[in-house]
């Protein structure tokens, strides 16, 4: 008799506890998405900072110190095919042939493989992530590991990236690679850790001729806005409508 009574009580307790538990879980889980709903309400509001980079090709002397500084600052693997930032040497021959060279990204310097009398024109083009505001890489990421920060910087969440290489394929500028050790996508971050501390990206400070200008596009009296005002700049592959924020002064039409 007593045993039966005990059993009855336990069953009621069990249901009670189970009810409280499931209710609690449901309540907690229902609270969580509200944060993203709150974000949706504010989406589209513009922030005061919106970073971009200007590059003056007429000033670039092809020393490759930007590519070197980037590798040092961000621990990019030193092998010659992992670059967040590199320099290309374009040589247009008299017969119209275009030769593009980038030995080790320009870190070890450039030599001209074409004899001077055959050269119609030659110049350097530094390249890095365009931090597009309609970036293809961000759109194709299946897990939301690539994203645009509120400052307009395209970043990778290394903890969340599954290393599927979709973004590497999607980038029309070839600015991404899979980190050989971490097995996640890796790319230029505009040195986010430096920018947040009020410093310039490492490649900007390393440039000896001031060919690179980093700045806030929304600050109309800032260095980048001034640069864009004074020079007629172009972006790479404008027909792809990527919303690139990497502006070149003196960009030759042969540059792809």
């Amino acid at each position: 008799m007593e045993l039966e009574y005990k059993n009855k009580k336990t069953r009621r307790d069990f249901f009670k506890a189970a009810g409280i538990f499931t209710g609690g879980v449901l309540f907690a889980t229902l609270l969580k998405p509200y944060k993203s709903l709150a974000y949706k309400l504010h989406e589209g509001e513009t922030s005061n900072v919106w970073y971009g980079i200007g590059i003056d090709i007429e000033k670039c002397i092809g020393c490759g110190r930007c590519a070197n500084a980037c590798k040092n600052e961000n621990d990019v693997p030193r092998e010659p095919f992992y670059f967040r930032n590199w320099v290309e040497q374009y040589t247009i021959k008299n017969d119209g042939e275009v030769i593009v060279e980038s030995p080790n990204g320009g870190i070890d310097g450039f030599t001209q493989s074409i004899p001077d009398e055959d050269i119609y024109k030659s110049f350097f083009v530094p390249k890095l992530c365009n931090h597009c505001y309609k970036s293809p890489c961000e759109q194709v990421c299946p897990v939301g590991a690539t994203y645009r920060s509120p400052e307009g910087i395209i970043l990778v969440d290394e903890e969340y990236c599954i290393g599927c290489r979709y973004c590497v394929q999607a980038c029309p500028y070839g600015c991404r690679f899979i980190h050989p050790k971490k097995k996640v996508a890796s790319k230029c971050t505009y040195c986010y850790h430096r920018v947040k501390k009020g410093l310039n990206p490492a490649c900007m400070d390393a440039c000896p001729t001031g060919a690179r200008i980093f700045g806030n596009l929304r600050d109309k009296s800032g260095p980048l806005a001034e640069f864009l005002k004074e020079h007629n700049c172009h972006v790479l592959k404008p027909h792809l409508n990527t919303g690139s924020k990497l502006y070149y002064n003196g960009l030759n039409m042969e540059v792809k």
Partner: protein, 148 residues
């Protein structure tokens, strides 16, 4: 309510509870707060330590070189452009933790003759021919006070 409908509703509600519960544990903290990504990842990206420190750190000890560099053609170049990142050297003060560039090729990165290099921006010599008896450029040219 017919009994079969009751059973189906019960089953459905259990499935919904399981789904919501799983979702709670599978979606990481701070996901969606700023968009379709983990907002805490911004902090992860911010956490790296800068390695290039800027001229102000160098000037504290190397004031004679710094004063030389206020004038002349190299005055706009940062110390760390040639000497590499200074974060280790600032802590240890050891010579091995900073780069002391030597050899003709290093100067040649900027100054070797190349058709692609704008001639009005940088002085160029053919490093294969220019004074080839000398192995070091810095024996004649002081990089902190280059000849005009």
């Amino acid at each position: 309510m017919p009994k079969q409908l009751q059973r189906i509703l019960l089953l459905l509600s259990i499935l919904v509870i399981i789904f919501i519960g799983l979702r709670h544990y599978l979606i990481p903290e701070s996901f969606g707060e700023l968009g379709h990504y983990r907002a805490n990842s911004l902090l992860d990206n911010e956490a790296h330590i800068p390695k290039y420190l800027g001229n102000d750190f160098c000037i504290d000890c190397h004031d004679s070189e710094a004063s030389l560099l206020t004038i002349g053609k190299h005055s706009k170049i940062k110390c760390e452009t040639c000497h590499g990142p200074g974060f280790k050297h600032v802590e240890s003060n050891e010579k091995v933790d900073i780069i002391l560039p030597s050899g003709r090729d290093f100067c040649g990165l900027c100054h070797s003759l190349n058709k692609a290099r704008p001639i009005n921006k940088v002085k160029q010599v053919d490093i294969k021919e220019h004074n080839i008896e000398e192995t070091e450029c810095i024996n004649c040219h002081n990089p902190h006070e280059p000849w005009n």
